[in-house]
């Protein structure tokens, strides 16, 4: 698999994990509202999400308040499961940290 194909597969897994996590914690209605708001208020389309993880954390904070940490942790858990990586919860980690760690683990495994 080429580097680009691997990157696309990773991004797809991340987007799916976000949707699945929000659906499992809330409902499909919230998934739809979330994407609609990202697109209309932040000009972030679904395919741009993997490159906007810092913004995404801010958005989660705004939407879910104290619950945003849980949302991000569940997303990371689902992502790690899809990638076949063991998930280890870190108190201070945000989604962007979990995603970077996953990329590093995958990179070192392939090296």
């Amino acid at each position: 698999m080429s580097i680009q194909a691997k990157s696309e597969a990773f991004d797809r897994a991340l987007i799916e994990s976000i949707d699945e996590a929000i659906r499992s914690l809330f409902s499909q209605q919230v998934v739809d509202a979330f994407h609609l708001n990202l697109k209309n208020k932040r000009s972030i389309n679904q395919q741009d999400i993997p490159n906007s993880l810092q913004t995404l954390s801010v958005v989660f904070e705004k939407y879910f308040g104290l619950g945003s940490r849980t949302v991000e942790r569940v997303i990371a858990q689902k992502l790690y499961l899809k990638l076949g990586i063991e998930f280890r919860r870190k108190e201070e980690s945000r989604l962007v940290n979990y995603v970077e760690s996953a990329k590093k683990i995958l990179g070192s495994a392939q090296a």
């Binding site: 499992s24 409902s27 499909q28 919230v30 509202a33 308040g65 104290l66 619950g67």
Partner: protein, 264 residues
């Protein structure tokens, strides 16, 4: 435009809140006027409370319909619990009104209506618990200790206010049990609702839940006001305690309505 579409528009978002606030003020005005016409306010109370309870139940059912089945997720069982709780409380209000208007029992307490009210606590408690449980990690250990301490103080206060007058009066065992069950269940419900309020006070998604909790807190305030006035033999149909129940159902109906379409 469907109910769901209308609840999504931002202009409508505020309009509906002001509409409910206006309704609450109007109800307060009617109750104020009614204190000088007790016959009128008694019938007003008997007629309006079941309607408001039905509104809360209908909105909870709409919320469940929109968040179940294919579009369901973690909130399905939460909303199903709320819906069941509201159904019990609606049946309780209908039974109370039936006793008052058909069976001509002015204050049917305790009665089958209380069985419905008490039954309603179980699904509401489960709903609150299920809603808050996935997010429990948001509470740091010191916050948990503070909440537990706060709950002990609150429970103690509620029981201190309610139990001594109960034991002083010559109540029959059924009245005593029902009268004790309310403050106890109120305290348990509050012990989940208040952490919930702390957790969800920020975050646009939870705004609907704040109204639901306001409704529950008002219900508990109504229970306490009713218990105090009933035990001191000052309760009458259409008393201010009944107005608090009306406000409670309005807040619950508004909360469930706002949850139908999430406003992020």
């Amino acid at each position: 435009m469907s109910v769901v579409e209308r609840s999504h528009s931002s202009a409508h978002k505020w309009k509906i809140e002001y509409s409910f606030l206006t309704l609450a003020v109007l109800i307060a005005a009617v109750y104020m006027y009614g204190q000088s016409n007790l016959n009128f306010i008694a019938y007003f109370s008997y007629a309006t409370t079941p309607i408001e309870a039905f509104a809360a139940f209908a909105m909870a059912a709409l919320l469940l319909r929109e968040h179940s089945g294919r579009r369901g997720g973690g909130m399905s069982r939460v909303f199903a619990s709320y819906c069941l709780g509201m159904l019990f409380w609606f049946l309780a209000e209908c039974t109370w009104t039936f006793y008052a208007l058909v069976a001509r029992i002015e204050i049917p307490y305790p009665s089958i209506a209380d069985a419905f009210w008490l039954l309603g606590y179980a699904p509401l408690l489960m709903g609150l618990q299920w809603q808050v449980w996935p997010f429990r990690e948001a509470f740091a250990p010191w916050k948990r200790v503070t909440i537990i301490l706060g709950m002990f103080i609150l429970t103690g206060t509620i029981l201190f206010l309610t139990i001594p007058p109960l034991l002083q009066g010559n109540q029959d065992p059924v009245t005593l049990t029902v009268s004790l069950a309310y403050p106890f269940l109120d305290a348990v419900l509050l012990s989940v609702a208040i952490p919930f309020l702390l957790l969800f006070r920020r975050g646009s998604y939870w705004r609907f839940a704040l109204f639901v909790i306001l409704g529950l807190v008002l219900q508990l305030a109504g229970d306490l006001a009713f218990a105090q006035s009933f035990l001191s033999a000052t309760y009458y149909p259409g008393s201010p305690a009944d107005m608090v129940f009306d406000w409670s159902y309005l807040a619950l109906a508004l909360g469930f309505y706002k949850g139908v379409k999430p406003n992020l």
